[in-house]
């Protein structure tokens, strides 16, 4: 039997960096390449959804129920994601491994933005977000753009 496909986890945004590198020479052997971030088979891959679970639970201080609602998964699923996240972080700490944020079945939640100049609110499709470097206001071309959080209230039921 084929398992049920994973539900898409909603996350607020990609991490601000690609990952973390352990500092200093490793006992007994040389740390590879100075400051370089080259792929390595021993790297720990922390999935975006695992990163998000740490962000919501430990950084934002939400409880697991609230965090699971944010990510659009069930509470037990959230718990499993978080458990894996902690195991991976612990492994990286103890074994001195590189942490790399990558992958996971996620969907970036920030779809709506607001221009602080003309105050218009606009969406950006996922397809576009992948290729876009800078968000620009589609109306006044302003560059002071913030994420618009109350997006759920935007759509009225016609």
């Amino acid at each position: 039997m084929v398992g049920r496909p994973q539900k898409i986890r909603k996350i607020a945004g990609a991490p601000s960096v690609e990952g973390f590198i352990p500092k200093g020479p490793r006992r007994g052997r040389q740390l590879r390449g100075r400051g370089r971030f080259r792929r390595h088979e021993e790297d720990i891959f922390l999935l975006f959804e695992e990163y998000e679970s740490i962000r919501l639970l430990d950084y934002e201080g939400l409880n697991q129920t609230a965090a699971s609602e944010q990510m659009h998964v069930s509470r037990p699923t959230l718990t499993r994601i978080y458990q894996r996240a902690r195991q991976k972080v612990a492994k990286a700490f103890i074994e001195g491994r590189v942490i790399r944020f990558e992958g996971g079945k996620v969907n970036f939640k920030a779809e709506w933005y607001q221009c602080t100049d003309c105050e218009s609110i606009f969406n950006i499709s996922e397809k576009k977000q992948e290729v876009m470097e800078e968000v620009m206001c589609p109306l006044c071309s302003g560059s002071k753009i913030i994420v618009y959080h109350a997006a759920d209230s935007l759509m009225d039921d016609e």
């Binding site: 606009f122 969406n123 589609p138 016609e158």
Partner: protein, 104 residues
């Protein structure tokens, strides 16, 4: 690029129409040629599906952005699919005002 602005009347000094699907007129503004085409919205009398009807009409014209004050809930997935951007603008401004901002 063609963009659409909802409008209460078919002239540039009209206020934007607060409703998308049931807007009285659509101003189809071509940013390349700086020209406006006015479309009367014949779905106004429909009981249902005004928004989806309007989406079809405008998608066929090749519109890439739609400026309105509010969008109905059924419209968003359609526009996402068609890769048309939704822009929610403030009420009580004229079509001319929107176009002026676009030209900035």
């Amino acid at each position: 690029m063609k963009v659409v602005i909802t409008s209460k009347e078919n002239n540039i000094n009209s206020l934007v129409d607060p409703r998308f699907g049931r807007a009285a007129f659509f101003a189809v503004y071509d940013t390349d040629t700086d020209s406006i085409e006015w479309l009367g919205n014949d779905v106004v009398d429909m009981q249902h599906g005004a928004g989806t009807g309007a989406v079809n009409l405008l998608a066929n014209l090749g519109a890439k952005k739609i400026f309105a004050v509010a969008f109905g809930a059924k419209v968003k997935p359609l526009l996402d699919e068609l890769d048309i951007q939704m822009v929610i603008v403030k009420e009580n401004q004229t079509v001319a005002n929107i176009i002026a901002l676009l030209k900035k």
